[in-house]
């Protein structure tokens, strides 16, 4: 008979029932999220800077547009997609690209960060499926991203006065929710890539650069060459941006809202399945090659 401290029976963690496991995994996701917030807030200056960054990042693109047109409204943009307000057009685009960058960078480097801390092995030794950790880190990234968007939008509203259709907010949020699931799959792929390639930032940077070109952030899809348009339609943020602009400022998309939601739903399945598969393969590979703890 052993005596190993209070709460012995209460800390028997050897359950295997499905409800217990789901609760356990949900707690693990939440704990990972809280841990990341605690670590982030140990650098308060960095945290504040990260909230101001999206504004500093966005403004040159808006001002470039204003300089090109000589004001806020573009007749040529109206000809292309039925809306003239370039400030709203560009702002919505850059709000969404923040989500894509989140998948490529914040989620993409989540496991690499654990390697840097030296805790990846300790975390992977825990009785939780390893892809669960990426969900916890994604939760932190998504919440962080929403915080940045709020700051961005408050600033733009204050300085430029954003003109959007308030009834479009709910459907836009629905699209964001769907888009985030697909982006989670992309984030898993990037997290795996950065575990495998020590210079994984190159992949994020290269992919991010290519996606920044083909994604219709500050311009409509129609101005891109056809092959780039096709590439853009494989990326969930394309649909996110276009449908949000459709709902909020009346951009004409070239396909129906239903089509957009359906395509994003398909992309969710494709990217999540692909992401989990890539993660499983690379997790096994790093455990075979012994590079899990190598930073």
């Amino acid at each position: 008979m052993t005596n190993d401290g209070p709460g012995q029976s209460a800390i028997d963690t050897r359950h295997s029932s499905l409800p217990w496991r789901l609760r356990h995994y949900a707690n693990a996701v939440w704990a990972e999220n809280i841990k990341e917030w605690k670590l982030e807030l140990t650098y308060p200056l960095d945290f504040v800077r990260s909230l101001i960054d999206p504004v500093v990042y966005l403004l040159p693109y808006v001002l470039y547009g204003v300089a090109l047109v000589g004001g806020r409204f573009s007749p040529n943009l109206h000809k292309l997609v039925g809306t003239t307000d370039i400030v709203s057009f560009i702002t919505i685009g850059y709000v969404f690209i923040g989500f894509l960058n989140m998948a490529l960078w914040a989620m993409g480097f989540s496991l690499r960060k654990e390697q840097m801390y030296g805790t990846l092995e300790a975390v992977f030794a825990a009785p939780v499926p390893r892809w669960i950790f990426t969900m916890g880190m994604s939760m932190h990234s998504i919440l962080h991203q929403f915080l940045m968007i709020v700051v961005q939008l408050v600033f733009i509203l204050a300085v430029f006065s954003l003109k959007v259709n308030p009834l479009g907010l709910l459907p836009a949020l629905a699209m964001i929710g769907l888009m985030l699931i697909a982006l989670y799959g992309i984030g898993m792929i990037m997290a795996s890539a950065t575990l495998l390639f020590k210079q994984g930032w190159l992949i994020s940077e290269a992919l991010g650069s290519l996606l920044m070109v083909v994604t219709p952030i500050a311009y409509p899809l129609a101005v891109l060459p056809v092959f780039m348009q096709k590439a853009a339609l494989m990326v969930p943020t394309t649909y996110g941006i276009m449908t949000a602009r459709h709902f909020l400022i009346g951009e004409q998309m070239g396909f129906s809202v239903g089509t957009a939601f359906l395509r994003v739903a398909v992309l969710c399945v494709v990217w999540v399945v692909f992401g989990l598969a890539v993660f499983a393969v690379i997790d096994r590979y790093t455990r075979r090659s012994g590079t899990l703890s190598h930073y």
Binding site: T2, G7, A10, I11, K38, E121, A122, R284, S289
Partner: protein, 338 residues
């Protein structure tokens, strides 16, 4: 399956290779070579070997962090690869190295986080963490960031994490490495008295400190160049080389010592060069018989600083069985696989 009779750990013919180098210059070295051992429940078992012997690799295989290239590992009768979630629930792990915790968080925050990963929730989690913090003497510093802790205190937090979820099998990889004597003594006492004797935990401990293994372990496996050479109790090891003495000669510099092996009566030699001094150990049935010839030879190469004739310690037994000193670094000596 009769759970009580099932061994806590069964390692059968485990092999682990690593690829090193780049491109065409890649070579494959065997870090663990057919390791086999069985730990009954409640045993404190030691894996003793020099740096690079394969101890950490084997521990990481057991903890499911590495996938072996051959062989099987079972924890409480369950395959560690096929049933890894089950096994991870029952294993507590302490790895070597300074950076295995979140330095920017406090001990309590670290333990709270890992407790969630191991399925501890609510009041039970709080109680468990309170208990461990008290037990390990971390009460005064529990809310300070780990970056301010000494190495010994960080190791205590690592130990708390390893036993947080009341595991059946505890893997301790070099638990006292780099610690000052006071903390090292505390860790050893805690492992032996609290974890093994009081709580009846099964513990696999790796170390290259002979006295640690001798003091703590009920049985010890010698591991060298990836191979488990022998598994016995400390007393059996010492008994099994009777009529053997160890001649220890300390020399200035690094004179040539290999010819000593050829002297009549010499069974094994090993030398270690550290801080400008070579310590040569000669294992022979009667040390006095080889003493004068050895000195005659060595005097030509350098100044003799000291001579001692001793009864063999476990370290000397290791040297006798493997031909390698415990203080050696054998990481570059692993066999290449063709």
């Amino acid at each position: 399956m009769n759970e009580e009779r099932t061994p806590a750990l069964e390692v059968q013919s485990v092999v682990k290779n690593f690829r090193r180098g780049r491109g065409l210059k890649k070579k494959i070295t065997r870090a663990v070579d057919g390791a086999t051992l069985t730990l009954p429940r409640g045993e404190l078992f030691g894996l003793l070997g020099p740096n690079g012997a394969g101890k950490t690799t084997l521990v990481r295989c057991i903890a499911t962090l590495l996938i072996p290239d051959a062989g099987t590992i079972k924890v409480l009768g369950h395959d560690a690869f096929k049933d890894s979630l089950y096994c991870r629930q029952r294993i507590g792990l302490l790895t070597s190295g300074e950076r295995t915790l979140y330095w920017k968080l406090s001990a309590r925050d670290n333990l709270n986080f890992f407790a969630a990963l191991y399925g501890l929730t609510g009041k039970a989690r709080e109680k468990r963490i309170d208990y461990l913090i008290e037990l390990l003497g971390l009460k005064d510093v529990e809310r300070e960031r780990l970056e301010r802790y000494s190495s010994g205190m960080k190791q205590k937090v690592s130990l708390a994490r390893a036993i947080l979820h009341n595991p059946d099998l505890i893997l301790l990889d070099e638990p006292s490495l780099g610690l000052d004597p006071q903390f090292a003594r505390f860790i050893r006492q805690f492992i032996k008295e609290e974890l093994n004797q009081k709580q009846g935990k099964t513990i696999l401990l790796t170390t290259h400190y002979m006295d640690e293994a001798d003091e703590l372990c009920q049985r010890i496996a010698f591991i060298n160049k990836g191979k488990i050479v022998n598994v016995k109790t400390p007393e059996q090891y010492k008994r099994d080389i009777p009529h053997t003495e160890v001649l220890e000669i300390r020399l200035q510099g690094q004179p040539e010592v290999a010819p000593i092996q050829t002297l009549p009566g010499v069974e094994r030699i090993a030398s270690e060069f550290k801080d400008g001094v070579t310590t040569l150990k000669v294992v022979a049935p009667r040390a006095e018989a080889v003493l004068s010839e050895a000195i005659e030879h060595l005097r030509k190469g350098g100044r003799i600083l000291g001579i001692d004739i001793k009864q063999p310690t476990l370290e000397d037994v290791f040297l006798y069985e493997t031909g390698t000193s415990l203080g050696a670094d054998t990481s570059e000596q692993k066999p290449e696989v063709q």
